[in-house]
């Protein structure tokens, strides 16, 4: 449904995006991940027709992203990385304006809109410029979802949201996914894609370095867990099954475990009395590091 072919857009210096090829099938949720300045937003701006590639082409639903941007916007909901709203507009006024610009005023539409407002506890009184950053992000989300679009293009959608709202947002994504929506989500936060995406593409300095099944990415990733035992644990057992660990005290450990061996770890730990078991959320950089070092090894 979303397809890019060799899109290249160079900026000054070595920045830009280079020969990107990926496609998102109908009904699929694709996580587009990469650190800051990797080119996620540039790619999305090409998809949304705000910019056009120097080389290659991007299509959504078979329509050229730049030339047919208006037709594409009919079926797309877009959350920009950071939305700049019009000066001096009130929240309701803005939502009405966008609804009118979409050429639709129906009771069904406002129903969906009102439910989204309620869900995200969006403050609808007052002027947009006085809203806090997270309220503005909520407004951007409501704007993107209120016309019940078939395709969702999300650029750092949870940016600035508090954990509760992030979680509500991910719930919404999962619901939309169940309803058969096609979703492209660019993010730096691995947790976002972990819970929602079928497949991920990893972007590094404008190049797509990996496109993989989410399970595969997860199994390749090494997670660490902070564990506190009631008594000194049987370290031999951990060593025997090949788990690395770091000891902080007699009872506190950080244990490393590859994603596809979590069940083994659980079995090993089941012989001990565990008081605390915390997973250390891995930053994307750490996951990247793994991919990058792999690349170097093969090179």
């Amino acid at each position: 449904m979303i397809e890019t072919r060799d899109i290249t857009l160079k900026y000054s210096g070595s920045k830009g995006i280079f020969d990107l090829n990926f496609n998102v099938a109908k009904g699929e949720t694709f996580g587009y991940i990469g650190p800051k300045n990797a080119g996620k937003t540039s790619t999305i701006r090409v998809l949304m027709g705000l910019s056009h590639p120097g080389k290659g082409s991007a299509t959504i639903n078979g329509l050229n992203c730049f030339r047919k941007a208006a037709a594409i916007q009919k079926i797309v909901g877009y959350v920009p990385e950071e939305t700049a709203f019009f000066d001096g507009m009130r929240v309701k006024e803005y939502l009405n304006f966008i609804t009118h610009m979409r050429g639709a005023v129906g009771s069904k539409k406002t129903q969906l809109r009102d439910s989204l407002i309620e869900r995200f506890e969006l403050e609808t009184r007052g002027r947009i410029e006085y809203l806090s950053k997270d309220m503005k992000q909520k407004l951007a989300i409501v704007t993107a979802f209120m016309h019940d679009p078939e395709i969702l293009v999300l650029d750092e959608p949870t940016n600035g949201l508090d954990p509760l709202m992030q979680s509500r947002f991910l719930d919404l994504i999962i619901e939309e996914k169940r309803r058969g929506k096609t979703i492209l989500m660019a993010t730096q936060m691995f947790e976002n894609v972990e819970r929602t995406c079928d497949r991920v593409g990893i972007l590094k300095e404008g190049h797509l370095v990996e496109q993989d099944d989410i399970i595969q990415v997860k199994s390749a990733e090494i997670k660490s867990y902070f564990v506190r035992f009631e008594a000194h644990p049987n370290l031999e057992q951990l060593k025997k099954f090949g788990f690395g660990f770091k000891q902080f005290s007699d009872k506190d450990y950080e244990i490393y475990c590859q994603g596809d061996r979590i069940d083994v770890l659980v079995k090993v730990l089941s012989h001990e009395k565990v008081l605390v078991f915390n997973s250390n959320t891995q930053t994307l950089e750490e996951i990247f590091h793994k991919y990058y070092s792999q690349e170097e090894e093969t090179a």
């Binding site: 705000l50 208006a70 009919k74 939305t83 019009f86 610009m101 050429g103 704007t143 993107a144």
Partner: protein, 266 residues
């Protein structure tokens, strides 16, 4: 054209238009009120106190004795360049470059409306608001003249005068609009959008200074509109108007063209 966007433009910019309508209407009304049917009298006496070159820079050297000519000389000789120019500069920048610069233009493009449709709407607001401004001026002119000096205003001639001045202003407005479409940055949009009309304005003013500088007027769009020549029937209003119309259409097409192919800034 997008109706909701046009309504938003009206809401955003109606105050600006009102300020200029009120300001220019007051000027026009006062000028008509100052007219003395027994000869230009007091005003000419006052002007004679000023240095001759200054008077000719202002384009006031050839004051006609009829009411229509009097208005043409005083209002459509100098003020008609200045006020609408300021209006065009402010509005031109507001309609496109400001939103592109602060990023809110993205909100418009995230709706199922093509760039061409959006930008034509913005251009149309520029043109329509100028039409409104001159329609009001025409009515004020006819109304105030009819009240103080019934039957003395040559309405047809006054209409021609307004129409040509209106189309001239549309042309200037679309110059500002074109640069607003071209640049992603309000600074550049204003530099060119204001710079070129001000340059035209200065050239026209300087051309009135002396024989030696009169050639400068040839480089100014404003010189095409000469109120006294219209009053005296020296220029063809049809020619002047169609000239402005053609330039306006070209500018609008160019503005829409550059905007529809450009990359918007992040």
């Amino acid at each position: 054209m997008s109706i909701p966007l046009l309504l938003k433009d009206i809401k955003n910019n109606v105050m600006l238009l009102l300020v200029f309508i009120v300001l220019m209407s007051i000027y026009l009304a006062v000028i008509i009120f100052m007219y003395n049917p027994d000869g230009a009298g007091a005003l000419l006496d006052m002007l004679s106190l000023l240095p001759a070159t200054f008077v000719s820079i202002l384009g006031l050297s050839a004051i006609d004795s009829g009411l229509t000519g009097f208005i043409a000389g005083l209002f459509y000789g100098f003020l008609i360049y200045l006020f609408p120019m300021v209006y065009c500069i402010i509005l031109g920048n507001r309609l496109v470059a400001k939103w592109v610069y602060d990023g809110s233009f993205g909100c418009l493009l995230a709706t199922p409306n093509s760039r061409i449709k959006i930008i034509v709407t913005q251009g149309l607001y520029m043109v329509l608001s100028i039409f409104v401004l001159f329609a009001v001026l025409f009515l004020v002119g006819v109304g105030v003249s009819g009240y103080f000096f019934p039957g003395m205003l040559d309405t047809t001639l006054f209409m021609k005068l307004n129409l040509s001045a209106c189309l001239m202003t549309v042309t200037i407005g679309l110059i500002c609009f074109f640069f607003s479409c071209l640049f992603n940055n309000t600074k550049l949009s204003l530099t060119f959008g204001a710079g070129i009309p001000i340059l035209f304005f200065s050239l026209t003013m300087l051309s009135g200074l002396s024989e030696q500088t009169s050639f400068l007027g040839k480089f100014s769009l404003y010189t095409v509109f000469n109120s006294m020549a219209i009053i005296n029937g020296e220029t063809s209003v049809v020619m002047v108007c169609s000239g402005f119309l053609i330039i306006s259409l070209l500018l609008l097409a160019a503005g829409v063209g550059v905007f529809s192919i450009k990359r918007l800034p992040v």
